[in-house]
């Protein structure tokens, strides 16, 4: 199960994602954003951070990076594509997920644990979770407020309270097929009880399970 972890200039959660996925038996590899070929990978993660310094808008420049072409092809072929935090923003900017992420309601960066509820288990991220399962996972963003005026988004994880004003209290959103998912809180940061929670492993396990399913026979 080879999974590409895309690295843009300004990404910063790539090593954390590699570490967490590695403990779950996946084979994560860092791939620089100028790469144009992801042949041989079974899925891809766009990690958190500040790709291209959030210039113009969060994710706007990264959505035009060379690596996004093979990421798009992967998504179209049904392989698992996961965007975490800034990765979620990039997927929205690339038009691979509906809606957009704007500044938090209170116009402040939020870094703290939040409670979320899994409301849809039919996606590559939530495949191992129970419907209604409550998870404690850290949020870490300024532009975490998801808006979807067309109301076409598929909300898969919801905040228990309303930390940032996100529409439908959406914490994670999927495409129609469920193989492209963006999540604002960081499951990799809730991967060890020593860090305060290992609830994020349920989500990452679902993703790894989906990777396994997408390995060509």
């Amino acid at each position: 199960m080879r999974v590409a972890v895309a690295v843009f200039p300004g990404s910063n959660c790539e090593h954390d994602v590699v570490r967490a996925l590695g403990t779950l038996g996946a084979e994560p590899e860092l791939v620089w954003h100028r790469e144009t070929d992801l042949e041989g990978f079974d899925g891809v993660v766009l990690p958190g951070g500040f790709a291209h310094g959030d210039a113009l808008r969060t994710g706007a420049i990264a959505a035009l990076s060379p690596i996004m072409e093979p990421v798009r092809r992967m998504a179209e072929s049904g392989k698992p594509v996961l965007g975490i935090c800034n990765g979620f923003q990039i997927l929205c900017e690339a038009g691979m997920l509906p809606g957009a992420l704007i500044a938090n309601r209170d116009l402040a960066f939020i870094c703290r644990f939040v409670e979320v509820e899994v409301v849809d288990t039919g996606t590559v991220l939530t495949a191992a979770a129970e419907p209604g399962q409550m998870l404690r996972i850290p949020l870490n963003s300024y532009e975490g407020n998801w808006v979807d005026p067309a109301r076409t988004g598929r909300v898969v994880v919801r905040y228990a309270d309303d930390p940032n004003g996100s529409q439908d209290r959406a914490a994670a959103v999927a495409n129609e097929a469920g193989n492209v998912v963006g999540i604002m809180p960081h499951p990799e940061r809730a991967s060890d009880p020593l860090l305060g929670s290992d609830d994020g492993l349920v989500l990452l396990e679902g993703f790894v399970r989906s990777l396994r399913a997408s390995v060509p026979a």
Partner: protein, 716 residues
């Protein structure tokens, strides 16, 4: 001189006597670029000319010290082939003039100090001080500083694990913004700020050089403030965390591939410092061609290029056969790089611009020949008067007093600030903000690095020697309650105008206090910073040393103590000496008015025993919490709030409940444990109220007061 105009050297912040020294070094009048270089390098900020003579008092040696004071950061050996690099700096003056950028560039600068050593920066802390939040300008400064720390730290991708916040009238005209950074590195990756050997090539990496920050070190950081402060805004630099992030990754790759012989960051004094210091340290010189420096704007003069404090720049010294590879790494990380010079075999720093010679000076003279002042020292006459008026509270209503204390922005929750900082990146934060000390795990070693910083201007006003010694003991205890043994200290001495003998006395006393405590603890001072001229319109700040202690938990407790791990039925123990009736410098005193009395002195023998006990208990107790700001009642309340459990406390008396005497901490443990020698059982966890004697209050009410402290004040 017949003209009425201020001479150029004076405009650059130099005295006539200093100007004459330059002439005697050069044997002639300096050229404009040379004068610019001497003026910034000989500024108080860069040369420590008022404090250097006294800083020699610090104990700086221990077997585990790899790099002591004088380099960009202190480095200690933590075993298993790993080193830790640590540094603290101030950005007080820029933050007053422009709070967001001042704080942001403070963060950027401290990061460069650490990754210059070959280390990956893994955590940041900040120690920030403002005037009371009922004044709009203080709210603006506080908001801007926190925003700048968050904006830069989050985007650069290094977690900020909190720090400390103090509010006091004395900081209204002069806020303090100190920043500290910890990095870790493999032994073989250590790099020093040296030019290496003749023939090495100087490669300038990172942001283009512009006109920002010119004279920041001399004009801003080394002078006092008045109403004209806002006109100094162009001397504040502007930060770009994205550029710094790329620069960090590029430099770490250079170190990994062993491509640099030495490297120096461009901070205060810019290129003047980054060329002269590494050359001076190597006993060599350098040819520098300013026409090769990549610039952000046209028409910059040689002095401007040499003095610019544009951020996010590093100067690497590279063997000629490695230059191409270094440029390739820069290209890959999308940063600019220019070859700007070559290391000379002699000791001359020779600078050219527009094809003309603009400077030719002995490289080492810029650092080594800086003036050294033995300024007059005199104990302030008003101190005896302060000592003669101690605060004597008598009996106070317990719950009302506790709630009043929890509502103080300097006592209540700091979450308003630290929840704006990414404090979890790198999956290392085992004990994060909101606790006594931070604890980071060192991957693959079973060890943890603990850090705590402490400052208390009020305590140090009343007795700078006792006060600063207590800061060291408190930081050491804070590190111990995470299971770590103190290993090293860094300090940032924020003081007023050194031209006043009373301020110099405070400096001497503070150095003595820190030195004495470090000697008793057996830990060295591995680095520090001095920020003087913290005065506005003639009023000096309280002497405010900030002390950071780095500790090593070996092994790290399997489940290190945290405030949220108390459960109903657990016993509450108080470990440490009986408190005295001394409230000098305490928050209870602050609540009632002016400071008075002489603070209780630290007791090294007791302090060491208590630290030993804390390290031992960290492996068995679910909760350890030091008794400090607000005293025992606040300590217990914070445990109740974090754990969501009430408690019954069998103690009474103002000194017991609200005194802040040193060397005390609380342990919450499961019944039937082996009680420690210095401990006594003071209560039990349970219910949803905190009961002290005959009075009680719900945990919900405590939480509301404590959580609302800063948000309410910011709304006022």
């Amino acid at each position: 001189m017949t003209t009425m105009e201020t001479p150029v050297y004076a405009q650059l912040g130099m005295t006539e006597e200093e100007y004459r020294s330059v002439i005697s070094i050069l044997g002639r009048e300096p050229r404009p670029a040379e004068l610019a270089m001497y003026s910034v390098m000989w500024s108080e900020h860069c040369s420590y000319k008022s404090s250097r003579a006294h800083l020699r008092r610090f104990p700086t040696e221990a077997p585990w010290v790899v790099v002591g004071p004088g380099e960009n950061a202190g480095v200690v050996d933590i075993g298993d082939g790993w080193l830790a690099a640590i540094r603290i700096e101030s950005h007080n003056h820029p933050s007053f003039v422009e709070p967001y950028q001042g704080a942001a560039t403070g963060v950027g600068g401290i990061l460069r100090d650490v990754f210059t050593m070959g280390a990956r920066p893994v955590a940041l802390w900040n120690q920030i001080r403002f005037g009371p939040l009922d004044q709009p300008r203080n709210r603006y400064l506080f908001n801007g500083v926190v925003g700048g720390i968050a904006g830069y730290g989050n985007a650069v991708g290094v977690p900020t694990l909190g720090g400390e916040i103090e509010f006091d009238d004395c900081y209204s005209g002069n806020p303090l913004v100190n920043v500290m950074c910890l990095g870790i590195l493999r032994k073989e990756q250590l790099v020093l700020g040296t030019a290496g050997e003749p023939g090495n090539v100087a490669v300038l990496l990172g942001a283009a050089t512009g006109r920002d920050g010119i004279g920041g070190a001399s004009v801003l950081a080394s002078a006092s403030f008045d109403e004209e402060a806002a006109t100094k805004r162009p001397s504040v630099q502007v930060g770009d965390p994205f550029e710094e992030k790329k620069l960090i990754e590029a430099c770490l790759e250079l170190y990994e591939r062993d491509l640099v012989a030495g490297i120096q960051d461009l901070g205060a004094a810019g290129l003047s410092c980054a060329t002269s210091e590494p050359a001076g340290r190597a006993g060599l010189g350098m040819d520098v061609d300013l026409d090769r420096v990549h610039l952000r704007e046209t028409g910059m003069t040689a002095p401007e290029i040499l003095m610019s404090e544009s951020q996010e720049r590093m100067l690497a010294f590279v063997r000629p056969d490695n230059v191409d590879e270094v440029l390739e790494v820069a290209e890959r990380w999308e940063i600019d790089a220019s070859v700007i010079g070559t290391v000379r075999a002699d000791d001359r720093l020779v600078v050219s611009h527009d094809g003309e010679l603009v400077a030719d000076v002995p490289a080492a003279s810029l650092a080594d020949d800086a003036p050294l002042y033995h300024r007059p020292v005199e104990r302030p006459g008003w101190l005896d008067d302060l000592w003669s008026r101690p605060f004597q509270p008598g009996e106070v209503p317990v719950i009302d007093t506790l709630l009043d204390l929890l509502r103080q922005p300097g006592v209540g929750s700091a979450a308003w600030a630290y929840e704006q900082y990414d404090h979890m990146l790198f999956l290392g934060t085992v004990v994060g903000p909101g606790h006594d000390g931070s604890l980071l795990r060192v991957a693959g070693t079973g060890k943890g690095l603990a850090v705590s910083t402490d400052g208390n201007g009020r305590l140090c006003l009343l007795d700078p020697r006792r006060g600063s010694a207590r800061l060291v003991w408190e930081a050491a205890l804070n590190v111990a309650v995470t299971g770590a043994r103190p290993l090293a200290t860094v300090d940032n001495l924020n003081l007023g105008n050194p031209e006043k003998p009373e301020v110099m006395w405070q400096l001497v006393e503070v150095v003595e206090g820190i030195s004495g405590a470090c000697e008793a603890l057996g830990i060295p001072v591995v680095g520090g910073n001095v920020s003087l001229y913290n005065e506005t319109d003639g009023a000096d700040i309280n002497p405010t040393p900030v002390v950071g202690v780095l500790g090593l938990a070996d092994p790290m407790p399997a489940l290190p103590p945290r405030l949220d791990r108390a459960e109903p039925g657990m016993e509450i123990w108080l470990i440490g000496p009986e408190p005295t009736d001394n409230f000098a410098g305490s928050h209870l005193e602050r609540l009632h008015g002016p400071a008075g009395g002489r603070p209780t002195a630290a007791d090294p023998e007791v302090g060491l025993a208590v630290i030993d006990e804390a390290v031992r208990l960290a492996h068995v107790a679910p909760v350890l919490h030091d008794v400090s700001d607000g005293g025992l009642a606040v300590t217990i309340a914070e445990i109740c709030i974090a754990s969501g459990v009430g408690a019954t406390i069998e103690l009474e008396g103002t000194a017991e409940l609200f005194g802040e005497d040193p060397h005390r901490f609380v342990a919450v443990v499961t019944p039937g444990w082996d009680p420690p020698a210095l401990g006594r059982r003071i209560g039990v966890m349970g219910g949803d109220s905190l009961r002290i004697g005959d009075e009680s209050v719900s945990v919900a009410a405590l939480a509301e007061a404590w959580r609302g402290a800063i948000p309410e004040a910011m709304r006022s």
